[in-house]
Amino acid sequence: MDLNDTAEQQAFRREVRAFLAAELPPALSHKVQHRQRLGKEDTILWQGILHKRGWGAPGWPKSFGGTGWSAIEQHIFEEEAADAGAPRQLDFGLRMVAPVIMAFGNKAQQERFLPRILSGEDWWCQGYSEPGAGSDLASLRTRAERKGQHYVVNGQKAWTTLGQHADWIFCLVRTSTEGRPQEGISFLLIDMKSPGITVRPTIMLDGEHEVNETYFDDVEVPVENLVGEENRGWTYAKFLLGHERTGLANVGQWKRLLKRLEQVARRETASSGRPLIEDARFRDKLAQLKVDLLALEVTLLRVLSAEAKDAKKGLGPVASVLKIKGTEIGQAIFELTMQACGHDALAYLPEALEPGYSGPRVGGEHAAAAAGDYFNMRKLSIFGGSNEIQRNIISQMLLGL
């Protein structure tokens, strides 16, 4: 047993670092480090830079234009990229729909969609949830009726994250009402510019526009956009969720944010008048988070190593362990960051999150995002399958209860 990077892994880490030092635009990194608002163009810019280097898809096999990196190498890359302040690559295309297209799509779909995901030309969003189908996804009702060479789609999706920017949406739709609810679901790829699609913002509790409602009114989707077989979509959807949940462990991002919190604690003043970091009670909380995050990181690496040995198996229910701990640790970091800012976090100054803002502030620069982040990140334990649902999965699948 050895917890250190191997010589090859060390060399790889150095290579990644050198690349980030040379290619990550400082202005972009500054935005990320200071939790300023990122625009669509920021994500696209970074994806383009990665693509140019051949690193557009860290998780894909070489045959599809990916890096062919092992799970551990991907983790190293993500960790270094997060540490350097690179924006997160957009999961919906790279980590969600692409693996499904690779595993279950046909050659024409692979050739048409994958290169555009790699280059960042297509922005994807996810159309799973509906107002009446959240945790109980199988109860979804958006219908797709086959009429000749088209499916005609009618219904409503909820919570489409960043759907306002999207070119494509991958949707679960009902193609049959026979049998168990899971059995009549299909996986469709839909062009967001299709007539009949309306996207309406849902405003989050921190005032931001991040999710949407997406309405389908007689939307025609060519049958060639069906992935795999009709009525087999549930299998593909479950396959995809396993991919989503490792991403939610977010170890690299949390490491960077914890480091930042440590800096904040050095800059802020405790009620005693001393630096906040000297307050033992506060420091204990910070230390606890470091311990928890280390444990999560090693757990993630254990899972990834095991997966690397048997890639076919996929992650399965242990992904739920990572999702629960990852999101809880993330929420705790945001909460402690807000706490570190004291009163200063209470001012609502969303304009201060725009790059280049030079107006009045309350407290240090880090205070502007603190409370909004804390409020917004309550979502972490809700989306991607709520933490209650993850615990149900653990008790049923891992414990056999």
Binding site: T202, A345, L346, F375, R378
Partner: protein, 380 residues
């Protein structure tokens, strides 16, 4: 021992709740929060007519001479309805300070207009770098002939851009964290040298950063004794904390209610989600936390009247610590149990959660007050 309310108290609470249910529903509240001033002059007037604004003011000045227990009843109702009107800065802090240490002339000039709803007040005390330390006052007041010249900057002044009068703490002597040498002054917000940057707070309320550059005030602006304001400030803040504890309990009650309703109506997997035992237990824990908080809000309301300052502070800190912890738990869990809807701007749950978060931070968070209780163990 007696935990019951008097008939008058019960009647006051009933009529206030009726008024708020009718006139201050969640949609109206949203609208008020988005208006330029952030509260409603109409509602303020009506609260004055109901006697709510004069509650803690002596009868001689047009008030009802009520106690912190009366304030508790009011704040609890305000908490349920997420009331934005500046009761805390104007009535609890502003009128409270004038009532406790004001001269006869100051009382005459200020208390009646406050009770009538004609004057808003703000308490400008905290500064950048003070965190929750009440003794940290770097703003200075230099004697100048008969009067004083004030200079400094105050942070997170609740209603600081709306109030007609500010009560400003400033040092007439001593170093930035000495217990003596702090004085209070009444300052017109429009006085030359006073500038402010007002903003919306995370809960939809209003606050301001206030700057004082060579603000000249007369001798009659001094509120209470020169240099002896710290104990007065501590008591005023304790009164405010007691009020906030009650407000938090009201907000927790409302969250329990709305979450319970949600669990009974929201269906997934063919059943109301309230049928899932894990959610039932979660709500049971939320109820326990709320009841514990209710008890401590009562402790705060009664013990804040204690003559013994050390005992008063210990009890109020105990209450703020526990109420803050409960508020955090109940708020976070209520959002969680609402699923995605809980993190949108649409439902009251998110707004109650945000208010509870703000209450936990104001005048010291749960950790801060637990630390005060804990440090107190060394002195006994």
């Amino acid at each position: 021992m007696d935990f019951s309310y008097t008939e008058e108290q019960q009647a006051l609470q009933d009529s206030l709740r009726r008024f708020l249910t009718k006139e201050y529903d969640f949609e109206k509240r949203k609208h008020i929060s988005r208006s330029a001033v952030g509260h409603s002059a109409d509602h303020w007037k009506q609260l004055a007519e109901m006697g709510v604004l004069g509650l803690g003011i002596p009868e001689a000045y047009g008030g009802m001479n009520g106690s912190p227990v009366d304030t508790m009843l009011i704040m609890e109702s305000f908490g349920r309805a997420l009331v934005l009107e500046p009761y805390l800065p104007t009535v609890v802090l502003g009128a409270g300070l004038v009532r406790d240490v004001g001269s006869e002339a100051q009382k005459q000039a200020l208390l009646t207009p406050i009770a009538m709803g004609e004057l808003l007040m703000a308490f400008a005390h905290y500064e950048q770098g003070s965190r929750y330390a009440l003794e940290h006052v770097a703003t200075t007041a230099k004697r100048d002939g008969d009067g004083y010249v004030l200079s400094g900057a105050k942070s997170l002044v609740l209603s600081g851009a709306q109030a007609g009068k500010l009560i400003v703490s400033a040092r007439t002597s001593g170093g930035a964290r000495d217990r003596t040498g702090v004085s209070l002054f009444l300052v017109d917000r429009g006085a030359p040298g006073v500038s402010h940057h007002g903003y919306v707070t995370q809960d939809g309320g209003r606050a301001a950063e206030v700057k004082l550059s060579n603000v000249r005030v007369g001798a009659d602006a001094l509120l209470g004794q020169e240099g002896a304001a710290l104990p007065v400030i501590e008591r005023a803040v304790d009164l405010a904390i007691a009020a906030l504890c009650a407000e938090a309990v009201g907000a927790m009650d409302a969250l329990l209610e709305t979450t319970r309703e949600y669990l009974k109506t929201r269906k997934q997997f063919g059943v109301p989600i309230g049928k899932f035992q894990v959610l039932q237990h979660r709500m049971a824990d939320m109820l326990i936390a709320t009841e514990q908080a209710r008890s401590m809000a009562m402790v705060a309301a009664v013990k804040v009247q204690s003559e013994d300052a050390a005992e008063r502070r210990r009890m109020v800190s105990s209450a703020k610590a526990l109420v803050g912890q409960s508020a955090r738990y109940v708020g976070q869990q209520a959002v969680q149990l609402h699923g995605g809807m809980g993190v949108t701007d649409e439902l009251s749950a998110a707004h109650l959660f945000k208010r509870l978060t703000v209450i936990n931070t104001l005048f010291g968070d749960a950790d801060h007050h637990l630390a005060l209780v804990s440090d107190g163990l060394l002195v006994a």
